[in-house]
């Protein structure tokens, strides 16, 4: 009779001998616990035995990004063969669970590579549907739900008043008395208009499609960018043009408006700013239309060139004076952040180190 511990060792050895299975520790706590558990690495085996039949659960680690189906299938076959051959048991079932997949070495010095055995040209994962914000009906429906809860509170309160627990008059009675015999006063008009506007908002929220404010990026995979990130990109590009003071941006999916404070006092900056902005957005699949507006600084009244400004599609406003700022001013895009609901990207700040946020 072969002991379970022997079966476990045979299975673990077989799993570890598979080339693609990592022999390293699978986590800090397991590294610390290794002397106590005796596993020595990230591979462990649970044995569920019934006489001569055995079920195995193998926990192992695979070096990222090796093929997990390939590695786990190879481990399953190896464990099955080893236990059958060396322990003489009938293996009914072998479950293989990949607990941790340690990272491959850093590829910071080689941006073209992705990982051992893979390249950026390799097939990408399936693309998701184009991202959208939460439905517009979420807020009205939340208000309706809160209204239902409020009705419940009113009902309970009236019941307590009717039973004598609370003093006062049931609100339902007060409302019924107010409604009965009412006349078309100004209050009715105002309330009617407000209720109609609320209803109109509800109807519009229910029938309008979900907002799609995000911009697609030209890439081999499915990549998107938020308007506010495009705004930062555009602002940085415009601010790097010589002679530019402050920069304000407004970004939507179809239009980018850049307002630049011109330190040179001429409209000569319009073309380089436009070029810089368009170059910054070159990676977008459908770059928005760019509008550049120039503003003169206050310190040095600009010797304007009206004829050139008139020929330009942009507007030059020599009579508008604003204080020159040494730092680019900021303006957030017109589109709001995606929500953190399960249908949209998180608004959490991206950490400088990788984080896992599994919701």
């Amino acid at each position: 009779m072969v002991r379970d511990r022997v079966v476990e060792r045979v299975a673990r050895r077989a799993a570890r001998d598979v080339d693609t299975v990592s022999r390293g520790h699978t986590g800090a706590w397991r590294s610390l616990a290794a002397p106590l558990t005796g596993t020595g690495d990230g591979t462990r085996v649970d044995v569920d035995r019934h006489d001569e039949r055995v079920g195995l659960t193998v926990h192992l680690a695979v070096t990222w990004p090796e093929s997990l189906p390939g590695a786990t299938a190879a481990a399953r076959d190896a464990v099955h063969d080893a236990v059958t051959r060396f322990a003489g048991l009938d293996v009914e079932r072998t479950d293989v669970l990949v607990d941790i997949a340690p990272s491959a070495p850093s590829r910071a010095d080689d941006p073209a590579s992705t990982a051992p055995g893979h390249s950026a040209a390799a097939s990408s994962a399936p693309a998701a549907r184009p991202p959208v914000l939460a439905p517009r009906a979420v807020v009205p429906s939340a208000l309706l739900a809160l209204g239902l809860v409020g009705l419940g509170v009113v009902g309970v309160r009236d019941a307590l008043v009717s039973s004598g627990v609370l003093s006062g008059t049931p609100w339902a009675v007060s409302v019924a008395d107010a409604v009965s015999g009412a006349t078309p006063s100004a209050v009715v008009l105002v309330a009617g208009v407000l209720v109609a506007l609320l209803g109109l908002w509800f109807v519009m929220a229910a029938v309008r499609p979900r907002p799609k404010p995000f911009l697609e990026v030209t890439a081999g995979s499915d990549v998107w960018i938020r308007p506010r990130d495009v705004a930062r990109l555009v602002r940085g590009a415009a601010a790097r043009v010589g002679g530019v003071g402050g920069v304000r941006t407004s970004v939507s999916r179809r239009k980018v408006q850049v307002t630049v404070t011109d330190r040179t006092g001429s409209a000569e900056l319009e073309a380089p700013v436009r070029e810089a902005v368009e170059a910054a957005m070159a990676g977008l699949a459908r770059p928005p239309r760019v509008t550049v507006r120039m503003k003169a600084p206050t310190a040095q009244p600009a010797p304007a060139t009206p004829s050139k400004a008139a020929a330009s599609p942009t507007t030059f406003e020599p009579t508008t004076f604003e204080p020159t700022t040494s730092e680019p001013t900021t303006s957030e895009p017109t589109t709001s952040e995606p929500t953190t609901s399960a249908t949209a990207p998180s608004s959490k700040p991206v950490s400088s180190s990788p984080t896992k946020d599994v919701s």
Binding site: P65, E66, S67, L68, P69, T72, A73, R76, D95, A108, A112, S113, H118, A122, A125, P126, A128, R129, P140, V149, L151, V153, G155, D158, P170, A172, V173, A176, V179, S180, G181, A182, S185, L189, A191, G192, V193, V195, A196, L197, G199, F202, V203, M204, A206, V207, V217, A219, S221, V223, I225, R232, R235, A280, S341, A342, S353, T355, K356, V358
Partner: protein, 181 residues
Amino acid sequence: MTRRLAGLDRTLTLLAGLVLLAVGAGAVAWWLGRLSIVGPVLDAGWLPTLVRTAWWPWASTAVAVVLAILGLRWLVAHLPHRVPSRVALDGSGASGRLDADLGVAAHQAATALAASRGVAGSSARLVRDRGQVVVELTATVPVGGRLADGVAALDAGSADLAAALGDSCPAVRGWLRTERG
């Protein structure tokens, strides 16, 4: 948010909106004297009588409590649900289940992203988007950095996930972010 819940939201919001529109328009029409069926004084004498009946408090309370429970249920349904992260790999079958943690795989892809040139930070998360499980990878490009670096890193991250998970790989969506200047 599930499609079913989104559909429920839209339907109930539309119904409530139409009712509110009708009530509001009716009130305005009444004020303008265009609502002949109501008259100059609202004849609802039955209402005070109704709410003073003996059974009204208990019946209305029961209905109100049921509505409150439905309202709470409706609100709670909007809270984000945890996306199951375990995924069955190709080759699972009667001989055993081959199983990987999608969250760990996404985390590994994010770790590789952070190590890419021109990427200042990265993150990954699992979301359920319109019924579809999606791995979202985010790469943050530093101030003055090139979008192309972030794109290359996200392409590589997506390819890594596809290579590692094979046909079991869910949809992957990359997000480019730019650091605050």
